[in-house]
């Protein structure tokens, strides 16, 4: 009884509904997150047809200018393409699976799409699955040498240190 009387100081109305949470600022919050994402992301420009998990490495450098990078993906074809292309690792250039012999042409096309002044600074990024055998990578490297696209970058993930 005593407790109840002391509490009544704060509980004036006795029976009162809890007020609804104000949602008027919710759009603002969502827009903030939205703008954050729009600023930080880069659009996925190709749909990957091959499965690529890049290897882990400890000594990495960031690629500075993404507009100068052309990507070569190597990995096993995805499940839906395995009927057509088998399970051997394949090369993907732009949107299509390709052969090693298409690389020179691809590099030339990439160069033509760029400003002439930018051509010497073009980087070819090799995004290769970690379980791929070196044979195909070696073939790609030879083709890149033939196309004199010598500046390459082995794409990798930051190694998680366990110590």
């Amino acid at each position: 009884m005593e407790e109840g009387s002391s509490m009544s100081k704060f509980r004036k109305g006795g029976k009162k509904e809890t007020p609804a949470i104000a949602t008027s600022s919710l759009p603002d919050i969502v827009f903030m997150i939205l703008i954050f994402f729009m600023v930080t992301v880069k659009m996925r420009d190709v749909s990957l047809k091959v499965h690529v998990v890049t290897p882990q490495a400890s000594e990495l450098s960031k690629m500075e200018k993404k507009s100068l990078v052309s990507n070569i993906y190597v990995g096993e074809p995805d499940k839906q393409y395995q009927k057509m292309f088998g399970t051997e690792p394949r090369i993907q250039l732009n949107d299509a699976l390709a052969n090693v012999s298409d690389i020179v042409e691809f590099i030339i096309a990439e160069r033509e799409a760029r400003d002439e002044a930018e051509i010497p600074f073009l980087i070819t990024s090799l995004k290769v699955d970690e379980f791929t055998k070196m044979g195909i990578v070696q073939d790609i490297k030879q083709e890149l040498r033939r196309a004199s696209a010598l500046h390459i970058n082995y794409s990798a993930r930051k190694k998680v240190k366990l110590d």
Partner: protein
């Protein structure tokens, strides 16, 4: 004229619309920044070049790393675990005691340092066609790491600052002392078939 109040536009659904746009961006975006090991390939030799006009490199100046199809390492003729590769490579490049089995040095004039002995060592990385790419990158990473470690140590010793915060001239001088000489040979059949 009737002064009717304009009905307000309902904004209850604004949050839903914004969420939809947000989810769209989440789907199409990739957060990862592109990172990787940067390398330069050697240019294609001209077709009419005769191979034998380059002087042969002395054996003590070459650090041979072989990786076979079973992803095992043979470093300088010895089986080695990848964990110990970095130390071994550092020892080779730095050659602190002027060991006659480790690479020679030539004295070069380098800004900030004056005449400094610079190693003539070259790291040669060879792999089998069946080597796994992951292993290859791990080895590359360790070799690059060895050179980076030496550069960092030298930067701290000489300038008292970490390598990253040096200006480009100072970085250049350190790069001259510890050049990144990793040659990637063309594939050979080494150590076991497929």
């Amino acid at each position: 004229m009737s002064r009717r109040k304009l009905p307000e536009i309902p904004n209850a659904s604004l949050a839903d619309i914004a969420f939809m746009v947000l989810i769209f961006f989440l789907m199409v975006s990739t957060m990862d920044t592109d990172m990787g090991l940067e390398r330069r390939l050697p240019p294609m030799p001209p077709p009419d070049q005769i191979d034998d006009d380059t002087p042969p490199i002395k054996e003590r100046n070459v650090f041979v790393v072989l990786v076979n199809a079973q992803n095992q390492l043979l470093v300088e003729g010895e089986w080695l675990d990848i964990k110990n590769l970095r130390e071994k490579a550092k020892e080779f490049i730095a050659n602190p005691d002027d060991d006659p089995n480790l690479p020679e040095k030539t004295v070069q004039d380098i800004p900030f340092f004056g005449p400094t002995p610079v190693t003539k060592g070259v790291i040669s990385l060879q792999n089998h066609v069946g080597t796994q790419y992951g292993t290859y990158i791990a080895v590359q990473s360790e070799l690059v790491g060895a050179i980076n470690d030496l550069r960092k140590e030298l930067a701290l010793q000489k300038f008292g600052k970490p390598y990253e915060s040096l200006d480009s001239d100072q970085q250049g001088a350190i790069k001259d002392i510890y050049p990144s000489k990793i040659s990637e040979a063309e594939p050979k059949k080494i150590g076991g078939g497929k």
